[in-house]
C-alpha cells in the first residue's frame, strides 16, 4: 500500500529527529548560553559563600563545596570570631536608608505626577519632556559641589554631613525622583480622565479623587516606582562611599568593598556578604516582575 509508510506511528528516534531543526537548535543553543552565563555567576556567589578558607584559596576552583560550611557567615555575624565584621549593622543601615527612600519617593512622585498628568499649568510640557535630562549629570559631577555645599550648610546649621543617613536619603531621592515622576506621569495619563471628572462633579475634592480613584488604579506603577527606588537606594555605591566614613555607618555595598580590600583576602566572606545583599533584591524583583515591566514600559517608549 502506498500510504502505509505515512500512517505508521513514528518511533521515538524519528520523533526527535524531526523535532530537531536548525532554527530550533540555534534557539536552544542561544537560550542555554544566556541562561548559563547568568545563572553561573549567581551560583558561584552562593556556593562560594559556603566554602571554607581552604577551599577558597586552593589550587583549583571547587565547583561543589563539600558541605555547607558557615565559616564565612560566622565571620560576618558572630562577634566571637577574630575578624568580626558586624554585618548585621550594615544590613540595618541599608534597610534604614532604602525603605524610607522608597516610601518618600512614591509619595512625592505621586503628587508631582498627578499634577503633571491632570492639571494644567504653564511649563508643564517643558517639564515632562526635559525632566530626564537631569540624568545627563553623572554622580561624579554632582558629588563635588554637593559635598562642598552640604559641608557649608552643616557648619552653619550644625549638622554633620558625613555619616549622616538622612542626608544620604535625600541625595537618593534627588537621583530617583525624576524617573519616578516620568514613569508615574505617563502611567496616570493612561487612566481615563472621565472617571475622575465624574467624581469631581459629584462633589469629591481633588485630594479625595487622588486617594479613592487614581491611586487604586495606579497600583502597578506605584509598586514599580517603590521597587525601583528601593533597588537604587539599596545598591548605590558612590555617594555612600564618599559620605560615609565610620564603619558602623556603612551600608552593605561599602562594607563589602571594605572586606574585599582587607589585607588578608577572604573571598568567601565577600561572597557571603554579597549573597545576603543580593538575595532580597533579586527575590523582590522576581516576585513582582510583572508590575515592574508594566510600569517601566507602558509610559516609557512611544509605540
Amino acid at each position: 500500500m502506498s500510504n502505509g509508510q505515512n500512517d505508521k506511528p513514528k518511533n521515538v528516534i524519528e520523533h526527535m529527529a524531526s523535532w530537531i531543526t536548525i532554527p530550533r537548535f540555534i534557539f536552544v543553543l542561544l537560550l542555554t548560553i544566556f541562561l548559563v552565563s547568568i545563572l553561573f555567576p549567581f551560583y558561584w556567589m552562593v556556593s562560594s559563600s559556603f566554602k571554607t578558607y581552604a577551599e577558597i584559596g586552593g589550587r583549583e576552583p571547587v565547583y561543589i563545596p563539600s558541605a555547607l560550611r558557615m565559616d564565612a557567615y560566622k565571620e560576618l555575624f558572630d562577634s566571637e570570631t577574630d575578624e568580626y565584621w558586624n554585618f548585621g549593622n550594615n544590613i540595618l543601615n541599608s534597610i534604614l536608608i532604602a525603605i524610607p527612600t522608597a516610601i518618600i519617593a512614591v509619595i512625592l512622585s505621586t503628587l508631582g505626577a498627578y499634577a503633571i498628568a491632570r492639571l494644567y499649568f504653564r511649563g508643564k510640557d517643558l517639564l515632562l519632556n526635559s525632566i530626564l535630562l537631569i540624568y545627563l549629570f553623572p554622580g561624579v559631577l554632582l558629588i563635588i559641589p554637593l559635598f562642598a555645599m552640604l559641608a557649608q550648610l552643616g557648619a552653619r546649621l550644625g549638622f554633620e554631613v558625613r555619616d549622616n543617613l538622612p542626608i544620604l536619603i535625600i541625595t537618593y531621592l534627588a537621583q530617583t525622583l525624576p524617573v519616578a515622576l516620568y514613569m508615574l506621569a505617563n502611567y496616570f495619563r493612561t487612566i481615563p480622565a472621565e472617571i475622575e471628572q465624574a467624581a469631581l462633579i459629584d462633589g469629591c475634592s481633588r485630594v479625595g479623587v487622588i486617594w479613592k480613584i487614581t491611586l487604586p488604579l495606579a497600583i502597578p506603577a506605584l509598586v514599580s516606582v517603590a521597587i525601583y527606588t528601593f533597588m537604587i537606594a539599596w545598591n548605590e555605591f558612590l555617594y555612600a562611599f564618599v559620605f560615609l566614613n565610620d564603619r558602623t555607618m556603612f551600608t552593605m555595598p561599602i562594607q563589602i568593598n571594605t572586606i574585599y580590600n582587607d589585607p588578608t583576602p577572604r573571598p568567601h566572606v565577600v561572597m557571603a556578604a554579597s549573597t545576603i545583599m543580593t538575595i532580597p533584591v533579586v527575590f523582590l524583583f522576581l516576585a513582582l516582575e510583572k508590575f515592574l515591566e508594566q510600569g517601566l514600559v507602558s509610559g516609557g517608549v512611544k509605540g
Binding site: 555567576p41 558561584w44 562560594s48 499634577a115 492639571l119 561624579v140 554632582l142 555645599m149
Partner: protein
C-alpha cells in the same frame, strides 16, 4: 475691544479655576522640585563655578572665597597624561571613555535584541527564562563586580583560567583584568551582560505590539524568515532601538561604579568618571575634578545633540 467692565479683575483671575488649578499643581510639585533643584541643578551649576577656581582640601570649607584661576584647571586636565591620547598603547581617558561607551552600548543593544527575539514566541518555561534574564540588571553592582573579579581570578583557582587550562586553550593562567586591552574588553562584556535586560524589556514590549497580520501578509508573499526580520521587524523597532541606544550611551558614558569596582581604573580602563574621582578624592584637587566632569558633560551633550539632530529626525514614524 474689552471695556473696563468686561476685563476680569485681578481678584477674579486669581480665583479662577485655571489659576487655582495651576497653584495646586505647583504646590504638588514643590517638594520634588525643591529636592531636585537643590541637589541636582544647583550643584551642577556650582560645579561649573568650581571648575574655574582652585579648590582643594585646604579651602573646601571656605569654598566661596576660592581663588579664580580661569581655564587653568581645564588646561591641566587636557595636558594630563591620563587624559591625553598618546598613541595606541595609551589611549587616554577621553578616547577610552568614548570607545568604551560606544562598543558597550552597541553590544548591550545587540544582546537585548537577541534576548527579546528569543523570548518573543511562547515556549514552555518562558516565564522563568524571562525572570532569570532580569537578574544581571537587578543584582547589586557590588556583588556582581566582585563575583566576576573572583571568576576572572589570575590564579589557577579562577574559574575561567581553570576551564581554559583544562581545555588546553591556554598554557598559563592569565590575569584578565590586569592586561591592557583585555581588561577593557572584559569591562565591555561585563557592561553588556549587566544592562542587556533593560534593552531586552523595551524591545520585547515593542515586538509584542507588532501586528501579526504584517507577518502573515509577508508569508503569503513567500518571504523567508530573514526577509521578514529585515523588512518588517527591524523597521518597526527603529524608534525603540534608537531611544535605547541614546539612553544607554548616556548612562554608560557617565558610569563610575562598574569600572571602579571591576578594575579600579587601571590597565587601560580609566574612563572620565574614574579620572574625575581620582582628581577629586585622591589628589584632592576639586577644581580639576570639576573641570574633568565638565569636559565629560560637554562631550556627552555634543554627541547627543548630533544624534538627536541627525539620527532621530529620520525615525519619526511610529
Amino acid at each position: 475691544m474689552t471695556s473696563a467692565a468686561e476685563r476680569k479683575s485681578f481678584k477674579e483671575r486669581w480665583n479662577s479655576l485655571q489659576s487655582r488649578e495651576a497653584r495646586l499643581a505647583w504646590a504638588l510639585i514643590l517638594p520634588t522640585a525643591l529636592i531636585v533643584f537643590g541637589l541636582v541643578i544647583f550643584p551642577a551649576i556650582f560645579s561649573v563655578w568650581i571648575s574655574f577656581r582652585e579648590v582643594g582640601l585646604n579651602n573646601l570649607n571656605n569654598v566661596f572665597n576660592a581663588p579664580f584661576v580661569g581655564f587653568k584647571n581645564y588646561i591641566d586636565v587636557f595636558n594630563d597624561f591620563a587624559f591625553k591620547f598618546q598613541g595606541m598603547r595609551s589611549w587616554g581617558a577621553a578616547v577610552t571613555s568614548i570607545v568604551y561607551s560606544f562598543v558597550a552600548t552597541i553590544s548591550t543593544v545587540l544582546l537585548g535584541l537577541i534576548a527579546a527575539l528569543l523570548l518573543n514566541r511562547p515556549f514552555r518555561g518562558r516565564g522563568i527564562a524571562r525572570a532569570v534574564f532580569l537578574i544581571p540588571y537587578v543584582a547589586p553592582i557590588v556583588s556582581m563586580a566582585f563575583v566576576w573579579r573572583w571568576i576572572l581570578d589570575p590564579r589557577p583557582s579562577g574559574v575561567v583560567n581553570d576551564v581554559l587550562l583544562s581545555a588546553g586553550l591556554i598554557e598559563r593562567p592569565i590575569a584578565y583584568l590586569a592586561t591592557r586591552g583585555l581588561a577593557l574588553l572584559l569591562v565591555i562584556i561585563f557592561e553588556s551582560w549587566r544592562y542587556f535586560p533593560f534593552a531586552m524589556l523595551m524591545i520585547l514590549a515593542r515586538l509584542q505590539a507588532i501586528d501579526d497580520t504584517l507577518y502573515e501578509a509577508a508569508e503569503v508573499d513567500g518571504a523567508s524568515t530573514v526577509a521578514k526580520f529585515w523588512y518588517i521587524t527591524l523597521p518597526e523597532l527603529r524608534y525603540v532601538i534608537g531611544a535605547i541606544f541614546l539612553l544607554r550611551l548616556m548612562w554608560t558614558f557617565n558610569k563610575f561604579d562598574d569600572i571602579f569596582l571591576l578594575t579600579g581604573g587601571g590597565f587601560g580602563t580609566k574612563v572620565l568618571p574614574v579620572l574625575t574621582y581620582e582628581f577629586s578624592f585622591r589628589l584632592f584637587n576639586f577644581g580639576r575634578g570639576a573641570a574633568t566632569s565638565m569636559i565629560l558633560l560637554v562631550i556627552l551633550i555634543a554627541f547627543m545633540a548630533l544624534y538627536i539632530g541627525v539620527v532621530m529626525r529620520n525615525v519619526d514614524e511610529t
